[in-house]
């Protein structure tokens, strides 16, 4: 128990160290999530565009099968 609380206390610098690591997790995690969300949005957009144009859909299917 002693060792766990001293681990989180970080020699009295807990506020600085954990904020730094938290910022790292938040910024990099946020960047990853936002990039994935953007990709999904774009994929849905393309799918909708292709579905709305029969000629393009046919072309897309031909491209897929070739």
């Amino acid at each position: 128990m002693q060792s766990i609380s001293s681990f989180f206390a970080m020699g009295g610098y807990a506020a600085f160290i954990w904020t730094a690591y938290g910022a790292g997790a938040l910024i990099l995690g946020g960047l990853l999530v936002m990039s994935l969300k953007d990709l999904r949005t774009r994929q849905a957009e393309i799918a909708a565009l292709e579905a709305s144009s029969p000629r393009r859909r046919q072309q897309a299917q031909e491209a897929k099968s070739s």
């Binding site: 910022a23 393309i46 144009s53």
Partner: protein, 251 residues
Amino acid sequence: MIQKYANPARFNRLASRLMPWFSWPAGLLMMGALYFALIASPADYQQGETVRIMYVHVPAAWMALFVYSSMAIASAVGLIWKHPLAHLSAEAAAPIGACFTFLCLFTGSLWGKPMWGTWWVWDARLTSVLVLFFLYLGYMALNSAFDDPSRGERSAAILALIGFVNVPIIKFSVEWWNTLHQPASVVKMAGPAIHATMLIPLLMMGVGFTLFFFSVLLIRMRALMLARRARGLTLAGLHDMSAAGQQPAEG
């Protein structure tokens, strides 16, 4: 030869195949680095526990410079050889580089307060990294400032190349000017002046961040290619309709 990956379908296939080779090692390395950084490595004899901030701060600084340098190279390739993926990759990299640069500044501030007694000083190292952050933001703003995307990407590429002079300034700022910031400990002619217990988490985090960068870069490049294709399809759709004598639908 590389030209053929400008085809979105081919690029998509290549990106999906490469993805697990970047994303899994990135996750594992960063987890491993966290263990060594927070638990297995000792406190510094001068800086105490605050030295642990280094394992985020220094790799983030490396990435800030690495990503910007890659953007400058990609911009040069885009301007000279007009490879269609070059500007796209720089555009996809810019927000990632901006995130790493912000993380570097933020963690540096958190390290500076307990060790230097101040959150911020206007010295050469800190100021030049802040300039780097604004170069990233300027690149992104300029890139999207034009109605014609190709004009935007050319202007942004020129900014990226001009701003590249800042990269050696950042690197050597701690040697050229007096500063509170400590000089390099890892990349030195005489070899790293840092103990293995601290070097291991530092390098693991560095490689982990690099692989993380490539994972997110692939995701963002795929999204940008789809956006470009959607623009093309919309224009072609309008063209089809006007060719058939129809009015394009409202909205």
